[in-house]
Point group: C2
Amino acid sequence: MTLWNQVTIIGTGLIGGSLGLALKQRDLAGRIVGVGHRQSTLDEALFRSAADEVTLDPCEGVRGSDLVVLATAIGLFEGILRKIAGVLEPGAVVIDVGSTKARVLGTLEPLMPEGCTFVGCHPIAGSEKRGITHARPDLFDGATCVVTPTGRTPADVLVRVVTTWQELGMVVRQVSPEVHDRLLAQTSHLPHIVASVLVRAVSEEAEPLMGPGWADTTRVAGGDAALWRDIMLSNAEEIAAAIERFHDILADVRDAVRNSDADAIEAHLAEAKRRRDHLAQR
Amino acid sequence: MTLWNQVTIIGTGLIGGSLGLALKQRDLAGRIVGVGHRQSTLDEALFRSAADEVTLDPCEGVRGSDLVVLATAIGLFEGILRKIAGVLEPGAVVIDVGSTKARVLGTLEPLMPEGCTFVGCHPIAGSEKRGITHARPDLFDGATCVVTPTGRTPADVLVRVVTTWQELGMVVRQVSPEVHDRLLAQTSHLPHIVASVLVRAVSEEAEPLMGPGWADTTRVAGGDAALWRDIMLSNAEEIAAAIERFHDILADVRDAVRNSDADAIEAHLAEAKRRRDHLAQR
């Protein structure tokens, strides 16, 4: 089922590349154009059939497309949209795949030309691995995609965007940009910060004694620093609030450990295990 | 190469069961006796050939053994050793596989009968999964084992114990019980606490929006609560110190996020990524 005549994906990394592969595999787009800032990445995207054609020029890339996907680091969205806004096709839809939404919407929606629509999207997929070389068509399969409509989003456009993610096998949830950011601060941004702090809390002397648990717990800290810096900056208030909440619980646990309060320690660990086991089954 | 005539493993769960399988596979023990407190677990150990014979009675189990392995939760070690101390064979060696060492050594070494030796061991292997059903002979292969000799440890006994772990494919490191506990507080106990707090810091509303990063970061929180309570209690001071160190770095990061200090955020994330990538290559 072809939903879009031509899709332009700006940023053909892990997410953008996987999206190209997935759209083609499910035959959802007549044609896919990849836009990047390095020819080598674009060549790789062509080689892997994640795009039908590629260009280094975003304005050239969006010509003729009814869907444009921003799949770069979120810090680059505004500059890109300012560049392409004037050459978007009438009625074109622009979506993103970024990890924060309120600021992105607040900045990008006003830049959209009359008749074109921006819809915020966040497919919760991927890993600390980056780049087109890790792209795969099943990256989105079974995962959740958050779509954040606003008062400016026409219903028919929203339906087409939601249907697109669903056709890729995703479970779509619709919430406001603000709610998205509050919840993702807890489920994604806080864990990233905690993992990065854990890495730095290990003394060099202790390094040889790290086991499989440490590797799991810190894995996300291997993510790209500039990409995550942008995420932190664009959701700073909610992340600071999530850190406070985390800190309050940690302080209670520290006190229980200090006081060798066996009941309090076990109650905390048992509650965490109960919730973790419950959530792991979802 | 048979290193021991008969090995008794008290506690045939993930670690004890895997140890039985590994010792048999490499032919390091003439015979293996499994001791447990549930007949069904012992039957499973026999069925999987993790032991040649089994018994519910630790005193019966250690008769004739030149090596006894304590592989239960560490909270049970003292009670078990008090029971079996009087019936240990002359010259028998007792080792444990627990996650903390100073308290364990301080309690168990004085209980050992003249001529017998206790050697603290900590194979850093396993996962949040428990029980004989997850046991496998290659669990220790390539992993690190910490051995913590004291002034009471005869050199020849130490060599036999170290050789045993090495024959199972482990990299053996020897440190004092106190150093072990300080380092493991950072690499294992702190990550466990942080993961458990992260689980509890997620509101129920946010639960549907958890991605693969959250799953990795919190995986160890699925570990058994009573087992980890004992670990926390037996290394409380070092764990509290590790939490403090973690907290200080977290407070700096929180301030950087609150102040939208892009340089400080990126510097932190880049340093964490550098160390994580470096350590992941070990």
